[in-house]
Amino acid sequence: MEELILTLKEQIIDALNLEEIAPEDIDNDAPLFGDGLGLDSIDALELIVILDRFYGIKLANPAEGKNIFKSIRTIADYVATNRTK
C-alpha cells in the first residue's frame, strides 16, 4: 500500500503541475480539496484521468469521485480494490 501511495502522489504532482510540492509534503489523510492541497473541480477531472490511464478504472460520473478523492489514502484504497491494470 505504501508503494501505491507514493506512486499516486507522484502521478498527482505530475498531472496537476504541483511544482513546488514533493510527495512527502502531502499528508496521506489530509483533505485534497478545499484545505490541504486546495484542488478544484478541474483537478478532480484530472484525477479521474489518472484512475483511467494508470489503473483502468473508469468513472463516468464525476460525482462518484466525491468520496474517492477525499485524501490520498482513500484514493489508494479505492485503486487497490478496483484496479484492472
Binding site: 504541483l18 511544482e19 513546488e20 473541480s41 479521474i48 484521468v49
Partner: protein, 564 residues
C-alpha cells in the same frame, strides 16, 4: 445602436435563415448519435454536416471551416446592398477553434491561424480592412455583435459583416469529453434528466449597418453588456452573478414586460442551466418565455451567439417562441417560463443571454420598435498610465528595465517567484496564461491605490491563439490506444482562459475579451480599444498584445488606459 441588414444560417438544417427557421419550427433536429467517430473512442451526440452537404458547401482552396463561413457570408450579402469591398466595411469573425482540425502534431504545414483564416475569407470577398477574430469561448458570437455596434456607433465603419462559425473536430470532442460535458444522447436543456451538451457545426452571419431610419421593419441591436464573474475559469457563478448584472445593465430604463422572449444559452449541462435559471429569476425575467435551441443544433460554439440571435429574430418575426426541444420536466431551481411546445411571442423585443469558459457573460437587447436615431456621444480622452513589455530576454516596466537572471520560459517562473510567489495556480497554467497573468500583475502593481480601486475592463490581442496548449492537447489524443485527453490541458486551448485567470486573481468584473489578428496591428487594436472604452462604463482598460508561439517564444506588450 445599429440595425440588421441581412442574416444567414448555414447548418445541417439548411443553407438560409428561412430554411433553418422552417426546419426548427417544424420540430426537426440535426442531432445524431456518434460512436468511435474518426477513431475517437467516445460516444456522443452532435449535429454535423453530412458528406453530401459538405460536397455542396466545400470551396476549392479553402478548409471546411473557411468554406462554411464563406457560404454563410455570401448568402447573407445576397440579401442586402452592403459592399464588402468598401473601406467602410469591417469583417468580424467569431470562432473558438477555427481551423483546428487541420493542425497536426508533427508538422506546422497546412494549418492557418484564426487570423490567417479570417484574412483568406476577407480576401475572397475583396474586403480591404484587416479582419478581427473574436475568440471569447462560448460568448464569442455575442461579443462580435457588440464589437460591431461599438465600431459602427463610434463612426469607424458604416457596415460590419459578423460571421460566427465552428466545425466539430476530434480535438473539440475529446476536450469536452475530458470535461465529462458531452451527452451521449440528444441534449435536454433545463430538464431533470439532462446529461450534458451536444456539439454542433454551423456558420451564421449578420450584416449590420448604421441605423438609417426610425421605421419598425428592421431589427436593431439596442445595447449590450459584457462582464466577467471572476469566479472560476470553467464554471459559472452558481447564482449567475455576472449574468444578473449584465441583465440589469441592459434593461436599465426598460420595462421587463416589453420582452417577448429571452433566448438563453441552455447548454443542457448541470451547471450552466442551473446558473441561468437563477440569473433569470434574480433578473426579474421569470415570467418571460425562454427559448433554448441547443436541442436542434447542439452547441455551435463560436457560431452559437450569432445563430441563436438570428433564429430568435426570425421566430419573433412570425410571433413565435420556439419550442424547447429536449425539455420535459423542470430540473433547475430558478423560476423560468419554459415549454417544449411552440408559443406566441407578443412583442418585437428580446434578450440574448450567454455565458462561457473564462467566466465571461454577455447580454444583448434587440428590438424592432421605433427608436430615435443615435446621438453622438462626447468622446472620452484616453490617457496611458502604465506600460509593460516582456520578451524572452527582457522585461521593461514603465520604461525601466527589470533585472532578471534567466531567459525564455524560465524567465516567467523567475518573475513569478520574485514578484508574485503566493499563487500556486500559476504552475497549472499554460505559458500563454502565465505570461498574461505576470504581465498584468506587474502592471497593476504600478497603480496607485486610487487607480486600483476602480473597475477594469480587459482586452487582449494575439496572433497565435493558444497554439502551445493546442499542440499539447493534440498530443494526448493522437493515439487511439493511448487516448487520455487532459481537462487541464484542454482548458487552455481556449485562449480567453487567460483573461479569466487574470479576472479571478484581481477580481476584475468588467468586460474580458480576446481578439486574434493576422498580425500585430496597432491601428486595429487602437480602434477596438477606443470603441470599447466609449461603450464601457468602466473608467480603466488593461489592453495590449500577448502572443505565445512556443514555451520560449513570446511577447507581451500591454498597458493601462484611463478615461480622463
Amino acid at each position: 445602436m445599429i440595425e440588421v441588414l441581412a442574416t444567414n444560417i448555414t447548418s445541417p438544417l439548411g443553407r438560409t435563415t428561412e430554411e433553418n427557421y422552417r426546419a426548427v419550427w417544424s420540430g426537426r433536429s440535426a442531432l445524431r448519435c456518434y460512436e468511435n467517430w474518426r477513431d475517437i473512442p467516445v460516444r456522443f451526440g452532435a449535429s454535423m454536416l453530412s458528406d453530401e452537404q459538405m460536397a455542396e458547401l466545400a470551396i476549392e482552396g479553402f478548409t471546411k471551416f473557411e468554406s462554411l463561413a464563406i457560404r454563410s457570408i455570401e448568402e447573407a450579402l445576397s440579401h442586402c446592398e452592403a459592399d464588402p469591398t468598401s473601406p467602410r466595411t469591417i469583417f468580424i469573425l467569431s470562432t473558438t477553434k477555427a481551423n483546428i482540425d487541420e493542425l497536426r502534431c508533427d508538422t506546422a504545414e497546412c494549418y492557418s491561424t484564426p487570423g490567417e483564416a479570417a484574412k483568406k475569407i476577407a480576401r475572397h470577398f475583396g474586403m480591404t480592412n484587416e479582419p478581427i477574430v473574436v475568440c471569447n469561448a462560448c460568448i464569442s458570437g455575442v461579443t462580435a455583435q457588440l464589437l460591431a455596434d461599438s465600431l459602427i456607433t463610434t463612426g469607424e465603419y458604416d457596415t460590419a459583416v459578423v460571421c460566427g462559425a465552428d466545425v466539430v473536430s476530434p480535438f473539440v470532442v475529446a476536450g469536452f469529453h475530458s470535461f465529462k460535458s458531452l451527452s451521449p444522447e440528444a441534449c435536454r436543456p433545463f430538464d431533470i434528466e439532462r446529461l450534458g451538451l451536444n456539439l454542433g457545426e454551423a456558420a451564421s452571419t449578420i450584416i449590420f449597418g448604421q441605423m438609417e431610419n426610425t421605421s419598425t421593419s428592421k431589427w436593431r441591436l439596442m445595447r449590450g453588456y459584457l462582464n466577467n464573474d471572476a469566479y472560476h475559469v470553467s464554471a459559472p457563478s452558481p447564482v449567475g452573478e455576472g449574468t444578473v448584472t449584465a441583465i440589469s445593465k441592459v434593461m436599465t430604463g426598460e420595462e421587463k414586460d416589453s420582452l417577448g422572449v429571452v433566448c438563453v444559452h441552455g447548454t443542457a449541462t448541470m451547471f450552466n442551466d442551473q446558473m441561468e435559471s437563477k440569473a433569470i429569476e434574480r433578473g426579474g425575467l421569470s415570467e418571460i418565455p425562454i427559448c433554448a435551441i441547443k436541442g436542434y443544433y447542439g452547441h455551435t460554439l463560436g457560431a452559437a451567439g450569432v445563430l441563436e440571435t438570428v433564429l430568435t429574430m426570425r421566430a419573433s418575426d412570425e410571433g413565435v417562441v420556439l419550442a424547447v426541444r429536449g425539455f420535459d420536466e423542470i430540473g433547475v431551481s430558478g423560476k423560468i417560463n419554459i415549454s417544449n411546445q411552440e408559443r406566441s411571442c407578443t412583442t418585437d423585443r428580446f434578450l440574448k443571454i450567454i455565458s462561457g469558459f473564462g467566466g465571461c457573460n454577455g447580454v444583448l437587447l434587440y428590438s424592432k420598435e421605433e427608436v430615435a436615431r443615435n446621438t453622438t456621444e462626447v468622446a472620452h480622452q484616453i490617457k496611458c498610465t502604465h506600460t509593460i513589455r516582456i520578451t524572452p530576454n527582457e522585461v521593461v516596466l514603465d520604461d525601466k528595465p527589470l533585472m532578471c537572471t534567466t531567459t525564455g520560459g524560465e524567465l516567467l517562473k523567475e518573475l513569478y517567484k520574485t514578484h508574485i510567489g503566493d499563487y500556486p495556480k500559476f504552475y497549472k497554467m499554460d505559458t500563454f496564461s502565465r505570461l498574461a497573468l505576470i504581465a498584468t500583475d506587474l502592471l497593476v502593481g504600478c497603480e496607485t491605490m486610487d487607480e486600483r480601486a476602480v473597475e477594469h475592463d480587459l482586452i487582449l490581442f494575439n496572433r497565435s491563439s493558444s497554439i502551445v496548449a493546442d499542440r499539447n492537447h493534440l498530443a494526448t489524443i493522437s493515439d487511439t490506444d493511448n487516448f487520455y485527453p487532459s481537462p487541464s490541458v484542454f482548458l487552455y486551448t481556449l485562449p480567453n482562459i487567460a483573461t479569466g485567470e487574470i479576472a479571478i486573481k484581481h477580481s476584475f468584473k468588467g468586460e474580458t475579451s480576446l481578439y486574434i489578428l493576422e498580425h500585430k496591428s496597432e491601428p486595429t487594436m487602437k480602434q477596438i480599444t477606443t470603441a470599447t472604452m466609449q461603450r464601457s462604463d468602466n473608467p480603466t482598460l488593461i489592453t495590449g498584445w500577448i502572443d505565445c508561439e512556443s514555451e520560449n517564444q513570446f511577447e507581451a506588450e500591454i498597458k493601462i488606459l484611463t478615461k480622463q
